[in-house]
Subunit: 252 residues, 2 copies
């Protein structure tokens, strides 16, 4: 299954790269800053078709229309963000990812975060580690909040939602990339010690499989398990930074 998913990712990425030479068809979803393009939708359809052909019993939760809710996580479920960071895709033509996760009975088995323009695929599976393309990665150091950069949702930082502003000030600095996949990759590389944002299941499903392999802690911002059913405030960090954030900023 891993080899197959990698092939699908490469095929989809080739198609996305070619699409950047053409005019995109961009539409608004909930507002002028919430965009979707024909490429998001076509990429999602590409994966759905592949999964339906090969694994007709499996169910799919995915960002774009018709697939963004699911009744149950029983059996095998695919969770897909065809283009994570659509704003960057439209504005920058880089700094966006394809994300795919495979869950069984609600437990993450495989995760794939593919930075399309850098051609960097971060992937891994339960109890089998984390890889960048063909190279196995080593887990980052367990640094405290004060010794690392933290990825942040800009609005949460500005409005100090759940003390995000104070958490950012305590860190070495915040970074705002506009793409959950890029932020999760920064954690896996050891570049950032954490990430605070407002995310939907397809934004974090693949990342959690990989974060788990490296011993990062994650939850909703209040410390409860992520619900996988709607957008919610999200926290992931090194154990040291996670505990400090929960104890000193969230439940102070």
């Amino acid at each position: 299954m891993i080899i197959e998913i990698k092939e699908w990712l490469k095929e989809a990425a080739g198609y996305i790269r070619v699409s950047l030479t053409n005019e995109l068809s961009v539409s608004q979803k909930s507002g002028r800053k919430d965009l979707v393009t024909n490429i998001d939708e076509e990429t999602q359809l590409f994966f759905i078709k592949k999964i339906n052909e090969r694994y007709p019993q499996d169910r799919i939760l995915a960002e774009e229309k018709g697939f963004d809710t699911i009744d149950s996580f029983a059996g095998r479920v695919w969770i897909i963000d065809p283009i994570d960071g659509t704003m960057n895709f439209v504005m920058e033509q880089e700094n966006f990812c394809i994300m795919i996760a495979v869950y069984e009975e609600g437990i993450g088995q495989l995760g794939f975060i593919y930075d399309v323009m850098k051609d960097e695929l971060y992937w891994g599976g339960k109890n089998s580690g984390v890889f960048l393309n063909d190279r196995k990665l080593t887990p980052p150091k367990d640094l405290p909040l004060s010794q690392g950069l933290i990825g942040m949702n800009a609005y949460m930082y500005k409005k100090n939602i759940y003390s995000a502003g104070e958490i950012g000030n305590r860190s070495m600095g915040i970074r705002v990339s506009g793409c959950a996949g890029v932020e999760l990759i920064a954690m896996l590389k050891g570049n950032h010690i954490g990430y605070i944002s407002n995310l939907s299941p397809w934004d974090y499903a693949a990342g959690l499989v990989l974060l788990n392999e490296f011993g990062f802690k994650y939850s909703n911002i209040e410390g409860k398990p992520l619900a996988f059913d709607k957008r919610e405030y999200f926290l992931a960090a090194t154990p040291a930074a996670y505990n400090e954030i929960q104890e000193n900023f969230i439940h102070e």
Copy 2:
């Protein structure tokens, strides 16, 4: 002179890349978030030595100690940031730049912004255009604030300094990279429509030469010429976004 500067940049970058395999020696300057490493200092010395050998009459303004002030901009002056984005250099080992500018009688003649880890050199000169490595670039579209992403200093955004928070909200979104060179490159590529930060002369000297070639507008945030003598609030943007920011947010 251009060929020579490119050779120096490649030589310095090679040295910097090798240095990342060793332990860095990191010190604080004005506080715990203002860092300098042995590599910043050694890279600065490397360029100073090269310039002194080849152009002994020229003067140098550069970020690190001993060279961070200058009496006058008469004659030819080199303005150097040996590692722009030192925090990223230390924490991420990427997203930092070398920046070099050559000014004559206070007027920018040549500018070089080198993203070391991506091996992307953005460079150009007065009336000769902007290049990425060997390829001449075309100027980005003159998009309004509401139609683009804007690079932003996180603190200015959070505290709404000079309405930076409101400016960010009016845009399609803010991005925070922690490196002036990375932000200026994003403008030259057409990825971002502007950049607001708090910068020193070596943070913007090279960028202004290139922004000028592409018709971007820039000044201190109040609309006055940049002073080139200390840290000040900086604004650069497409003409449409620059005028909108000045008229609707700064001098409303």
